[in-house]
Every structure is written in structure tokens, then in C-alpha cells.
């Protein structure tokens, strides 16, 4: 077992624990903060595997922007301190969710375990230049498609916000 192995397993366990706590905690803001832990640990996993730029973008985008947005939404709406059961789901709901999650995990394991191999963790440093070339060369179309998806969601969000503003005016 090398130091890289230890680091990888450590970050992996941390990500797993953070993710589990994020969905099980009764403190709604804590859920968002545990999400920070999970996403940050995932960035650590990337870093251990040598994908430095991916790890940093993970931090910049997910922790720096998405979680901040989640926290912002939580603060704007009700965000009680202390446990709250307002958003608790029914047992049936939870059971279905657990089954689906287990299925997803099984699927991923089935796909990933055969290619994981059994050797020690190796660090494959990808240069930023190569990553950029790949992203904007080979994977340009998926990348653009993704941005189109984001654009669509942006327009949709704007439409929802605008329509509400209009009805609000009519009410007044």
C-alpha cells in the first residue's frame, strides 16, 4: 500500500461519509455543508489521481458556486437552526429511493469494477495543455451541448421569474 493508496481511500471514505450525512442529516443547512465535504473530498480524489485542473475546477464550480447558490437559496427561504422534520419524506418514499440508489450503485460497480484492476493507484498527470486540447478538440461537441443545456435552463429560469413578476403586478 502506497501513500497514494491511503490518500485515495481516505478521500473516498470522506466523500462517502459526507454524501451519506448530506442525505440523512435533519439540519437542512448542514446537508449543504456536508455536500461541501463530499464535493471537496472528490476534488481530493482527483488531485491524488493527478487530475489537478479537474480537482480545482471541481472546487471552483461546485464548492465556490453551486453550494453557495444552494446556501443562498436556503437562506432566502426558511433555514431553521437545529433539526427540523419539515422536509422529511415518508417511509415508502425512502424505501423507493434506497432501492433506486442501490440499483445505481450496483450498476456502477458492475461497470467500473472490471476496469478498475487490482494494482496500486498510479498517478497519471495530465498536462493542462493536453486537457484543454482534448476538451475543445475531441469533446467539443458534448461540451457545447452541455453549455446549450445550461443556456436552456437559464432561459427557463428567466421565464419563470418573469411570469411570476407579471402575475404579481396583476395581483397588485
Amino acid at each position: 500500500m502506497t501513500a497514494l493508496d491511503v490518500a485515495l481511500v481516505g478521500f473516498g471514505l470522506l466523500a462517502l461519509a459526507g454524501a451519506l450525512l448530506a442525505v440523512t442529516t435533519r439540519h437542512i443547512v448542514h446537508a449543504a455543508l456536508w455536500l461541501v465535504v463530499a464535493l471537496g473530498s472528490l476534488a481530493g480524489v482527483y488531485l491524488v489521481l493527478g487530475a489537478e485542473i479537474v480537482a480545482l475546477v471541481q472546487l471552483l464550480v461546485y464548492v465556490g458556486a453551486i453550494v453557495v447558490l444552494v446556501l443562498f437559496a436556503l437562506m432566502v427561504t426558511r433555514s431553521p437552526i437545529g433539526p427540523s422534520r419539515d422536509h422529511a419524506t415518508s417511509p415508502a418514499h425512502r424505501g423507493v429511493a434506497a432501492v433506486i440508489a442501490a440499483g445505481l450503485v450496483a450498476l456502477l460497480l458492475a461497470v467500473l469494477l472490471p476496469i478498475a484492476g487490482s494494482g496500486a493507484v498510479t498517478r497519471q498527470v495530465t498536462s493542462n495543455r493536453a486537457l484543454g486540447a482534448d476538451l475543445f478538440g475531441t469533446w467539443a461537441w458534448p461540451f457545447e451541448l452541455l453549455s446549450l443545456l445550461l443556456l436552456a435552463s437559464l432561459v427557463a429560469a428567466l421565464a419563470i421569474a418573469r411570469s411570476r413578476a407579471v402575475t404579481g403586478k396583476e395581483d397588485a
Binding site: L60, F72, M75, G82
Partner: protein, 322 residues
């Protein structure tokens, strides 16, 4: 990075970065004391330490240590306690990758420009956590404002850094500074402006201090903090000034480029950062606080378009020079 370093070198570099992290914010803080005082026709601290009150901030720190560490009853204790460290430590990480000269750098990462951006983005989480966990409506308002401000100003800042990175063809701060040429001052001027404004907003300095706004929401997220934890937030603010000034110096002002840049490169980097730090203090003393809507308008209608135009200009320049 790191693989070829001996343990001693790692320790030495860490200690050096920590020392810089503890000393430079104090210097900036003292500069703020004095500059602000003289801009208001005052003298500022004159007693602590004897000569023009140079030890004022050390005395302040001693005072903060003695103060009671208050914890609001309704606060979320764990998050409340954790928040100041989370606000401070990212700046330490960011400072570690900022080069003072090609050889003097805490840790030379291949994508250090992104490290800095990611670190500052994480740092704002500390303010958000403090704002929510204090169980205080002013703090919550401050937290909300700081989240809205972060989201608005993160984008133009990333675009401004992308512009210089594109111009230099590298994401490493050392690489960017090495590639720098004097005419970049003009070429990257809009990006420098965007970065200055964005950086000012990122560290929540006036005129972009809506999240703190001591005169209306009593320091926002920091309202409930006292003693050492409050001091940590203050230190984070000054560390933010240090970081942003050094980044401006490295990315837009050519860092160590100058006469005798070989042995005195680090001095040039710092000398170029000092006027930027002074700018931050000057802005604070000259301008009123922007309103929340003005803040958002400025970010989305001025800075983002400007940064996009700059990106276009840079791209054209890079293609033409090839």
C-alpha cells in the same frame, strides 16, 4: 509538485509562507490605520510601540486574545466555531502559490491561477456559514448579501484571469509573470480593471462591502463574533488585500520585471503590490458603499461584458501574434 522536495524543504517553505501570511496582513492593516487617519486629517495610532504607533495591531491582537469568546445561545455551535477558520485558511493556501520571483514561491503549482480562484471561492463559504450559524437576522442578511455578491463577481474575475492566462498560454502564475511584456499593461488594461473591481468585491472591501456594512447591518456575518474568532475574520480581510494586491502585481503588472530583476525580483513584486494595496485603502476612504442593486448592475452590466470583450481582444491578439 512536491515529489522532489525533501521534508526539510517542505517545512521551511511552509514556515516561510505562514510567516508571510501573518506579517504581511499586519503591515497592510497598519497601513490602513495610517492612510485612513491621514485621509481624514487625523494622525492615527501614535502610542503603541513608541514610533508612530507601529505596534498598534499587535496590541489589538493582545486585546482580542483576552476578550471573552461569546457564543450565542441559539447559534449552531459547530458551524459557528468553524466559520472563522474556513474564512482564513483558503487565503493561506492561495498565498502559498503566489510567486514573488521565479524561484521564490511557496508551492509552484502548474495551475496556480486556478488554485487562487478556487481558494478564494471556498473562503467566502466561511462568511456564509458565519452568517447563517449566528442565529441573528443581521448576520443572515449579511450572509445573503455576501452569497449574492460572490456569485455576481466570481464570473468577471474568472474571465479576467482567463484573459491573462490566454495571453500567456499558461495557467501557472509563474508562467504568466514570465511571459509578461510591458505592452500588456495596455492590452490587458480592461482585465486589470475587472480584476481590481472583482477582487475588491471578493474580499468585501468598500465600496463593495454591502455584506458587512457596519453602519446598517452591524458587520453582517461578524455581528455575533468576538475575541479571537473576530480577529481571525479581520485577519482574513487583510490577508485578502495582500493576496489581491500580489495577484494584481503578478498577473497584470509584470511582477519581477524591472531593473536588477535577477536578485531583486521579489522586491519588485512587492513594490508593485504596495500601490494596489494602497488603492484598496484609498477606495475605502473615498467612496460610499454601493447599494445592493447597484452592486449587481455593476457586476452584470459593466464587469461581465467588459471581461468578455477583453477575452475577445486577447484572443484576437494571441491569434495574430502566432
Amino acid at each position: 509538485m512536491g515529489a522532489a522536495m525533501s521534508v526539510w524543504e517542505v517545512v521551511l517553505r511552509s514556515v516561510a509562507v505562514l510567516a508571510a501570511f501573518l506579517v504581511l496582513p499586519l503591515l497592510v492593516g497598519f497601513m490602513e490605520h495610517k492612510v485612513m487617519a491621514h485621509m481624514q486629517a487625523r494622525l492615527g495610532p501614535m502610542y503603541a510601540g513608541g514610533f508612530h504607533g507601529w505596534a498598534q495591531l499587535i496590541a489589538d491582537a493582545a486585546k482580542f486574545v483576552q476578550k471573552d469568546d461569546l457564543l450565542p445561545t441559539a447559534a449552531d455551535k459547530g458551524v459557528f466555531r468553524l466559520a472563522p477558520s474556513l474564512a482564513l485558511i483558503p487565503y493561506l493556501v492561495a498565498l502559498a502559490v503566489v510567486p514573488l520571483s521565479p524561484s521564490i514561491v511557496g508551492a509552484d503549482a502548474p495551475a496556480s491561477a486556478v488554485v487562487v480562484l478556487a481558494a478564494t471561492a471556498v473562503g467566502v463559504l466561511g462568511g456564509l456559514m458565519a452568517g447563517w450559524a449566528s442565529a441573528n437576522k443581521y448576520s443572515l442578511l449579511g450572509g445573503l448579501r455576501s452569497a449574492a455578491q460572490l456569485i455576481a463577481y466570481e464570473l468577471p474575475m474568472v474571465l479576467a484571469v482567463a484573459s491573462v492566462a490566454l495571453a500567456a498560454g499558461t495557467l501557472s502564475l509563474t508562467g504568466i509573470a514570465t511571459e509578461w511584456r510591458p505592452w500588456w499593461l495596455l492590452w490587458q488594461l480592461p482585465a486589470a480593471f475587472v480584476f481590481l473591481a472583482g477582487g475588491c468585491a471578493e474580499i468585501q472591501r468598500p465600496p463593495f462591502d454591502m455584506p458587512l456594512a457596519d453602519s446598517e447591518i452591524v458587520f453582517g456575518p461578524y455581528t455575533e463574533y468576538s475575541g479571537l474568532r473576530f480577529a481571525l475574520f479581520l485577519l482574513a480581510e487583510y490577508a485578502g488585500i495582500v493576496l489581491m494586491s500580489l495577484l494584481m502585481s503578478v498577473m497584470f503588472l509584470g511582477a519581477w520585471h524591472g531593473p536588477w530583476s535577477g536578485p531583486l525580483g521579489w522586491l519588485w513584486t512587492i513594490l508593485k503590490a504596495v500601490p494596489i494595496a494602497f488603492l484598496f485603502l484609498w477606495f475605502r476612504n473615498s467612496w460610499p458603499r454601493l447599494r445592493e442593486d447597484q452592486l449587481q448592475r455593476f457586476a452584470w452590466l459593466v464587469l461581465v461584458p467588459l471581461a468578455l470583450v477583453q477575452l475577445l481582444i486577447t484572443a484576437v491578439g494571441v491569434v495574430m501574434m502566432r
